[in-house]
Structures are given as C-alpha cells and as structure tokens.
Amino acid sequence: MLKRKRSAEDFAEEIKAHLALEADDLQHEGLSKDEAQWKARQQFGNVRAAQERFYMRGRWVGLNKLGRDLRFGLRSLRQSPGFAVTAILTLALGVGANTAVFSVMNAVLLRSLPVSDPSRLVYLRTSNPPRGTGTIDTNKTFSYPVYDALRKHSGGVSPLIAFVPLSGGKVAVRYGSQPEEAEGDMVSGDFFSGLGVNLPLGRGFSEQDETNHAPIAVISYNYWTRRFARNPDILGQTLFVNGVPTTIVGITAEGFEGVEGGSSTDFWIPLQNRPELNAWGNPPDEGKTYINDPTWWCLQLIARLAPDVTRAQASAQLQPVFQRAAYVGLGGTPMEGEKPPVLSFVDAKSFPGSDQMYGNPLRILMAMVGLVLLIAMANVVMLLMARNATRQREFSLRLALGAGRGELFRQLLVESAILVTAGGALAWAFAEMAARLLGRWAQIETSLAPDKTVLLFTLGILVLAALVFGLAPLRVALSGGAELVLKTSAATSNTDAGKSRGGRLIVALQMALCVVLLVGAGLLIRTLQNLENSPLGIRVDGLVVFGVKPNIPSVPEGIAFYRNLIGKLRVLPGVDSATIMESRLGSGWSDNSDMMVDGRLPEVANGTSRTVRSNVAGPDFFRTLGVPVLAGRDFADSDTASSPHAGIINELFAQRFLPHRNPLGHTIGTDDGRYTMTIVGVVKNHKYRSISEEPIPMAWCMYAQIPVIGEMQVEMRVYGEPMAILPVARKVVQQLDPNLPLIQPMTQRAQYDTTISGQTLFARLAGFFGVLAVVLVATGLYGSLAYRVSVRTAEIGVRMAVGARREQVVWMILKDSLLLTVVGVALGIPLALLVGRALATSLYGVKPLDAMSYLIAVAGVAAVALAASALPAGRAASIDPMKALRTE
C-alpha cells in the first residue's frame, strides 16, 4: 500500500473515456454530435475539481504538504541568515548547557546502580560504632566479625555483601614489567552474583573463592578498554596487586563501575587475608589484618532484601545478631553508659554518598542553567516575533489569497521545527563535549555519557521549544487579518507591532533573571577567590608529593627502607630536602582521635572538641614544608627507634590542652596509653586536610619510633619545576624495589587544589553561565530595540522633520531601555536574595548579602542595557528625515 496506485494521468484518461461514452449515449438519444459533446461536459461539471480531488485523496497529501512547508521554511530562513544563525546558536547554547548539567546530574544523582532489581538493595548503616574501635566512617563501616555474623544469620537479607578498597587512593599493580596504579576493591564471593552484575567475558567469584582467598581478579569494562584495548586474551593473564600475583578471570559488563558514586573501580579481588592486601592498604596492626581485628570497622556492607521482607522486618531480625557481634573481641558487652549501636538500612538504588558531595551544587547549577534556558528561549521568541511582525504583510497577503489559518500555523510550526532541530543537534554535540569537560574538572570518574533519560530530557525541552516558537508568533501573524494588505505603507502597517507590551515584559524579565545569575556567579567567584588566596601556612611552591607502598615484612625493615629512600632522594641534584608522612597533606584524609596529655585526657571548656589530628612524619618535615617551628625543634635523623619518642604539636594543641604553660617537655600519647612521646617542638598552625578547613589541634610522631609502618607519602622540596624531578625519583624507588610505582604523583599545590575542585568548578561554571546570560540578554535587548527603531523609522523621520532634536530622539530610545532595566533590577533583586540564601552553605568568606556582588550584577545589567541601546539609538538619531519620509 506504500506506492501511489494510480497516476493522475490514468484518472484523466478515464474522465476522457466517460465524456466520450456519455456523448455516444446522448447522440444515440438524438442529439447532434456537437450538442452531445457539450452536454456530456456540462453534466460532468468541473473536471479540474474532480482531478484535484483525486490528487488530494489519501495520505500522500499530508506528506506532500509537509515537504512543501519544509522547502518553504528553509527558503524563508535562508533569506534572513542572521536571524537563523542567532536563533539556532542561542538555542544550542541554552539547551546544550541544560543537557550537559543534566547528564552529570543524571549520572551522579539519578541513575540507579547498574545491577538487577536495584530497589531491593540496601546499604547497612550503624548509629555509632562501639567504643574502642577505629572506623573509616562512623556510620558506614563495619568490622569483619560483624560481617561474618550477619552473613551466617540467614533470613531477612540474602545475600549480604562486603566490599572494601585496597587503598584510600590507588593501588600498585603490575601487568608485564612496568608498575602502575589502579583502583581496586576486595569483595565477598557473592559480590557479582548477589548484585546481579553481568560478566559477558569470563566468570565472577564464588563463595569458595572468598573462603580460599583465591588469587583471582575481575576487571571493569572501562579498565579493560583503557588499559588492555579490549583484548579478550587478557583472561588468564596475571595482574600483580601490591606484588601479589592474581589471575584475571572475568570482565564486567559495560557501565558497571562499582557501587560507590563518583568513583570507578578498575578491578575486584575476593576478600584476602595476606598482610600485603590489607583493607585500605593499611599495614597490619600488631600482625592483625582487617579479617582478625574486631576493633577495626572498615568494611562497607550492602544487602539484598529477601523477597516479601520489608526493610523494617529485615533490620528487626538482624538487630540482636548485630548488637551481639559488635562486641565480639571487645569484652562482649557495651561499657558502662555506652549506647549500643543500632543497625539500619538505607536505599542503595542510587549512589548515596554522591548526593552529599555533589547534590547541592548540581541542583543549584541545574537551576542556573534553567534560567539561562528561559532567557535563551525568550530571546528566540522575541526574535521570531520581531521577524514575523515584519512579515505581517506577507501573512496578510497569503490570508487574502485564500490560505487557511491552519496552513499559516502549520508553516510557522515547520519553521520553528527547523530551527529547533538544527539548534537541538548542535546542542547535543555541545553537551557531549561539555559533560566530558565537566566530569574532568569535577573529578567525577563515573561515565557521564548521556543515556536514554538525558535524551528524553533534551527532546522534551526541544518539543516544548518548538511549540512555543510556533505559537508565539502566530498571534502577531494573524492579528493583521486579511484586510491589512490593503494598507499600502510599510510604516503604517507595522506601527502596531512595534509597541508589543509582551516583548517589553519579556525583556524586563530577562534582565531580572540576568541579575539573579550575576549575583549567584559573583558570590561563587568571590568564594573561589577567598579560597585560592587563603594562606596555607606552608610554602607550597616547589613541593612535590607521591606515595610509595613497599612490601614490608617487619617494622625494622620498613624503617630501614624509608631511611634508605630519604637518604637517596635528598642527595639528588636539584633537591633541597626530602621527607615522608603517613597521611598526605591536602588529600582530605586525617587520622582523628583523642590524646592523653601528661597521662590523662585533657580538660576542655564546655563544647570544645577534644579531637586531635595526628600524623606520622619523617626527618626535616617542617623545614621541607616551610612551616615555621615556633619553639623547640623539627624531627631529625637522630630520632631513631632507640632514642626517646619525640612528638611535635601545633599552636592550637598547645593553646587548647596546655594553656599558659611551656608545652616543651610535656608527655602526650594515644588514648589507650600504649604509645607516649615527649613534646620537642611547637609549629605554626597550617592547613592540613583541605584549604577551607579551620585549624584543629595536631600532633606528629616520628615514623622511626612507632610500632607500625606501611605506605608513606614522600614529600620533596626541589628547585625549579617540581614535576621534573619525578623520572629521577622513580628510578631511585625502583632501584629499591622494581615492583613499586609512584602513587598519585603531583605537586603539593595541585593536591591542595583538589580539595576545592568542587568549588572551583562550581564558581567557574556559575561565572560562565552568568556571562552567557549577559550575552544572551544583550543580544535580545539589542535585537528588539534595533527592530523597534527600524519600524519607527518613518515616525522618527516625521518627528525630526517637525523639529525634534537628535538628543531628544536618542533620549526617547534610551529612556525606553532604562525603564526596562529599572523594572528588571527591581524584580531581580528579591529573587537574587532567595538564591543567595540557597547558596549560603557553598560560600566561603562571603556573606549571601555581599553588597559587592549585588553592585556588580546591577552595574553589569545596566551596562549591557546601555550598550545594547546605544547602537539603535545612534542609528535613530542619524536618520535623515527626508530619506525616511521618501522611502514610502
């Protein structure tokens, strides 16, 4: 049925045959030949009409009309390329920005875990860990004994899955000869089967693998692609993890990147019990790894609810088991006055952690790009209205010639569809690029590739845009009616259109939105400036840092390794000094605990925290960092395992816990009293974990004197470009152990900057969207004013002919846009106040009511308004009255 069955010629042929037959019959009835032919024709009626109706019949007509409308639309757009390009670009920027931000939001906040039936998955949470335990996160992590007990209690949930990273950052791996780094997790045997993750190549793990601590690995699709170029022969090959050989047995399906938002796991191995593969890359604590240490709560747990069991039922069933297991190895029962921990479940459908991290900024950005889109659409609507108003005579003419209103509407819709399609295609390309950039800036490792949800979102916006753009100009187009064509003068026929109140309202609203965006951008950019300029208390230039994780059979051997390494590094040419530390500065990590001062927990004023951050440091630590030692001394090579334990504190520690005393010589130590040291130095407060933190009491101990030793961060002060030392440093490290990569090498400045990467990104984007809004508003205002001046050419000519001066004409145009600016600012400021309040938590060193940001925003909008009106006003003033009148 798809081809037209019968040609119009054939139909014409049939009519001809009919006329002949009819004439024959009539002749038969006694008419003359001529009479018969005439009568046959007359009886038939309108032959053309019949042929036309034949042609119009059926579905092909619609398609034909559409083709005609498309051709017509393209032709009429080609006649005004400036308009078409502006409209398409504006739309592409507006929609593209929205798609980009939305695809990030979708990937990070909305997308669910790529597993089967994610709605039945829950993360386990505890109200608090029992006293005497160390945790990674007080609510999210559990000990191995707890995991083991919960798993053995069948019922409520099935299965219960544990996972834990092999390192806080990346792990040393080796495939072939070159050591490198990757992100890896240790997981339960039923990790893949329990989550329902597909493994198109190879196999996952079994419970047997977990029990045997099998040396096997599954790698992610991304890692497979990135590192192994999707070579299927990789199965069966050996991947060394921290020097331990594992066999690659499987590759996950595309899209599965682990169960934590914002990061992507490269490989998984079953839970291990070897000291080299301890959880979080920690050194064994007195010979114990996570598996036999009930005081170290470091595993994250995820569970699938059993069918027909509610979350409440399942947690009620597990509660007693959990509360018993929590105290295994801790004396069996809670201490006096201790609240026992309470188990609860949270939704694991989407990544819970990422909402905390990216939720607020992303939602605010989404709102910002939404405003940008509004401004952009308003711009296009105004452009269309202006363009179609000048076409009013064309429309009137076509109405007069018999075109239906439906036809006009269809044609406007087709024109807007062409614009929207072109703009949409451009927007999609733009968004794909922007989303990738966004991900890189925000250090989001999850794949941000737009998926079906994003596509639907974008298509939704585009359809809406196409309808609005088609409908908005229709009113103008039809308002003229057919009789308008009778008005002969271009000037008179357009006077009504120039005064459209709707257009002015839109411009004022755009200005209001622009004020809002500029205030938001201003606040965020000032936040960024404050962060970037806030003193670190460290001479950060010239510092480079990298991690080293050697295989350490015993503590003395570990100490010897690092002493050796520091000795070799500090004599390299171009190196001023070299030292080591356990927690890397500016990485966001810190070791927090209470500390004894002179044998007891210090008294603190009500409401003050007793928490101390501690770190392990090497010789020349503060000299290398450039942190001034206020009293006493720095750590030195002479602090060894056999010399008295040396400790160094910061100013705040001294002020808070040893007020009005000379802190030197006092004894401080761990809260269990096992390790003590004598304060030998006090250093100036400096930024430790991140740029935006407030100072906190700190204490450092000497690496050579403590009973554990594991991965260390090497810090070097060099002359010249810090990163240039890395190849030489790598050679030194690999002379000591060829298995060791430099883990996450970077300048110390870059390391600190990662702690404000979120704010940086946020501020840059906000600034970008602010500028985009200004540009859009400027083009919109310029366009509508220029158009208004052009339709008033004749009127202005008359005014000037009867004696209006140039200044008066300029003022007439400027007054108009100044009025719009005032209205826009008056509307925008209350809105901006709301936005400022929403932003409050994201600001640093700026108040939401920052007068400067408001002033700049208002001044910016006013300047844009003036600049955009200056040109049309100038043009109006230079109108030659005689010419203007003569054009008619």
Partner: protein, 123 residues
C-alpha cells in the same frame, strides 16, 4: 461559481448513499463509470442527478478501500473504458450497508408517519 468547500459539503452528505448505490449497480457484473452513472439515474427514475466528478472520486475511494476492483477494457460500442467489479469484501459491505440503510429509513419513516409530536408542542 460554487466554491470548493460547498462541493465538499454535498459529497459528505451523499457519501454513504452514493457508495451504497455504486455497490448495488455492480451486482449484475462489471460496469464502467459512465454506465454506473446512467444506471443509478435510470433506476432512481431520474430523481438522483449524479454529479459525475463526485462519482469518479467515490469510485476511486471504493477501489482504495478494496471494495471494488478496476480494469481497463473495451465497451460495447468499442470505446476504451475502465470497468469496475465487486470484490468479495465489497459484497459483504453491500449487505451490511443495505441493512443499515433499511433500519435508518424505517426509523425515519416511523417518526415522520406518527402525528402526535408537533401538536403537543403547539398547545
């Protein structure tokens, strides 16, 4: 001069009827368009003046629907003509449409023949 729109109105009114009449005239055997027109006119005792243009459009519509088939052939007086014939589907339609038409005319007849309605209104 009649406008196109008015023409359309008339067809819409006649459409169902004309289709029915065309199908009926094709029962004895294949006929060309002019023959169909003549037959309808003659059998209705010249009450219906068949608009020939509309007839051909209607024939085309029925052909598109698959109710009738068409084939070029030669008429009795040796002229080339397009001959239409009923398809089985068309035959079924004819039965159905005829039934519908009978019910409709009977209902209308019942209303027109009764003489209470109008008087009640007047009083």
């Amino acid at each position: 001069m009649t406008t196109q729109e008015n023409n359309d109105d008339r067809i819409a009114l006649l459409q169902g009827t004309l289709d029915l009449l065309i199908l009926k005239t094709l029962i004895p055997g294949p006929r060309h368009g002019q023959g169909v027109a003549r037959t309808i006119q003659r059998q209705s005792e010249d009450v219906f003046l068949v608009d020939h243009g509309s007839l051909y459009v209607a024939l085309q519509r029925l052909e598109d629907k698959g109710w009738i088939g068409a084939k070029w052939g030669v008429s009795e007086n040796n002229r080339k003509a397009r001959f239409y014939s009923l398809t089985p589907k068309g035959r079924a339609q004819l039965v159905e449409k005829t039934g519908e038409w009978r019910r409709l005319t009977r209902a209308i007849g019942l209303i027109l023949d009764s003489n209470d309605g109008t008087q009640g209104q007047e009083a």
